[in-house]
Symmetry: C2
């Protein structure tokens, strides 16, 4: 029996992604070869890479004259250092909305000065800072668009003349925003996109002219761009799962449709969190994420009971991060409404018996 997988990442993907990815490991497109034994320079794989790159831009409604997309390795954690290595000349601005922003700032400090423009640390990152002033002209302004741990999400974005960079690891492709406002977007695949092991980087082409020091090849965005995201052997399986997810998204109406579904899904869950006397939401209501809902028990002594009941319903992966406690339901693009309904019905049942 398939579980209801609320894991924060690696996380649920569409069933057909699992099916097709599984088949490809046996044999890719009747080629007599497994996906993972063919040359990355073969026509079959070059097509996969190119379609994945192109489809990423298309779904984000970005023009391929002005933007390019890359599938790199090393996760968002490698992007934390790459953005600074390439683009931090003097000072960069960071908005601190939690653990991922903190890690990004830590790596950037090795390359230049980091200005923490705003922070929500005073309230354990349960909100998105809104009133702040950007001094001077930082080389770039960096945000974490969605904080997976605290369940917060930017619903409007900083207005700045600097290049705007965003870690969108946990909410890319979830909603229709103007992605062209960003000069650089990165996202580890293992949430809304594909298997862990690749990172989508979307980059404004003219940003590539601003690389400010000599950067090792594997960390240099321009080299990856010039080599069509194949400077070295790419993580073929992870890229293929991304392509399968992107195709699934396109076939299901693209970002417009998925956003409607995500809004319905998150409303179903947040309405219950707010209604149910036994739970309270963690994040500030205005800043709630439609990808990760964080909530706590009103009475912690009922913890074991709730978790036992959840397990009986085949609910998996809802434990909160240790810095928030309680629960976190990650409800990414591929999470069906029905699974959230199972959780909501459970919460109602739980309220009735405690």
């Amino acid at each position: 029996m398939k579980k209801h997988n609320f894991s924060a990442g690696p996380s649920i993907l569409a069933n057909e992604v699992f099916e097709k990815a599984s088949l490809s490991v046996k044999e890719l497109n009747n080629s007599g070869l497994s996906l993972i034994e063919i040359s990355h320079r073969s026509k079959d794989f070059v097509k996969i890479m190119e379609e994945a790159r192109q489809l990423s831009l298309e779904l984000l409604n970005l023009n391929s004259d002005d933007f390019t997309s890359l599938f790199l390795q090393g996760g968002a954690s490698t992007q934390f250092l790459m953005i600074a290595y390439n683009f931090l000349k003097n000072k960069a601005g960071y908005i601190n909305t939690g653990a991922w922003s903190v890690k990004a700032m830590k790596e950037a400090k090795l390359f230049g000065s980091v200005d923490e423009i705003a922070s929500s640390q005073d309230k354990n990152f349960n909100y998105i800072p809104k009133d702040y002033k950007i001094d001077g002209s930082p080389d770039y302004l960096h945000i974490t668009s969605n904080n997976t741990i605290f369940g917060t999400q930017f619903h409007s974005f900083p207005v700045t003349d600097s290049d705007l960079f965003a870690d969108m690891s946990s909410d890319i492709f979830c909603r229709n925003i103007d992605y062209s406002k960003f000069s650089l977007i990165y996202a580890g695949a293992q949430k809304n996109l594909g298997a862990a092991g690749t990172t989508l980087v979307v980059i404004k082409k003219n940003l590539l002219e601003k690389i400010c020091r000599e950067v090792p090849s594997m960390l240099n965005y321009k080299i990856h761009f010039e080599k069509d995201s194949m400077f070295n052997t790419p993580p073929v399986f992870a890229v293929y799962t991304c392509l399968l997810s992107l195709r699934w998204l396109l076939e299901n109406g693209g970002i417009d449709e998925i956003e409607k579904k995500n809004n319905l899904k998150s409303k179903l869950l947040y309405d219950e969190i707010d209604r149910n006397s036994q739970f309270k939401g963690f994040a500030n209501i205005d800043d709630r994420s439609i990808m990760n809902a964080t909530f706590n028990l009103v009475n912690d002594s009922n913890k074991d009971l709730f978790e036992k009941m959840a397990s009986e319903q085949n609910i998996s992966g809802i434990n909160g991060h240790r810095s928030v406690g309680g629960y976190r339901a990650s409800i990414y693009n591929a999470m069906p409404y029905e699974s959230i309904d199972v959780l909501v019905q459970l919460m109602k049942k739980f309220e009735n018996i405690v």
Copy 2:
């Protein structure tokens, strides 16, 4: 019909690796979840990572008190810069046996002085340099143990007081050598080990005390060691395929047995290359690789015929690298003797009809 896959990498793995990896993408161990949707912090995945790390050391006959193993991202190309970032304080020595050594030196030069101790460039890298003197005490001495492109392989190793580093991407686990002589070994998975997307790094623990500058977290070997190779989300699928290959190797007698098979396999092919009037080997006989056999046609005008005949035999991936031309048969651990025999019979048939 399954092809005879002589691809240089990504390349053939054991059939059971494809089968089990494919199943795991549908569902891992009856868990109700796909391998690629479970948390990397889950018990199931932590077990996979730990077993893969442990088994790597065990098969290389390395003591886990003195050595550790990591599964990182970014391929050998990332190791080229990481080794220098971490360990190149003043000067490092490199033996240049072809394209991969050249790339490794290029990245190292960003961090310090590079001494090319010996090179076989004068003969298009068709041999392994043997007479050279190591001046001073370089921070480390770096070799490429097997050159995939030119089909050469070190059969004895430099004697040095410096830490010896080796890129073993295309020949790790193929033969029984004293791996403990090396302070650092790295190998992209996609040849003898697993799916592209992870790199095995084997490192002498006391080397970790020699990190010579402040290194970004994702590039810092000590941080990866301290975090049990899980500083960030690892490439779960690629690591799992490595574990499956390592188990397959263990079940088939480990390195001792595979070396015997590799010797028989490469002898079968090289004997035919040397006997057949229509082919000539590229690499110096004493330096031939048991993993990648490079050879050319005596008469290039027969190229189309040979390739047509090869294709009819379901032989795939034998075209040589552009810098050598001709053919390259990569005969990694998982390549069956039978496939090489198909190639040898074809070469005989070809000789008879031209």
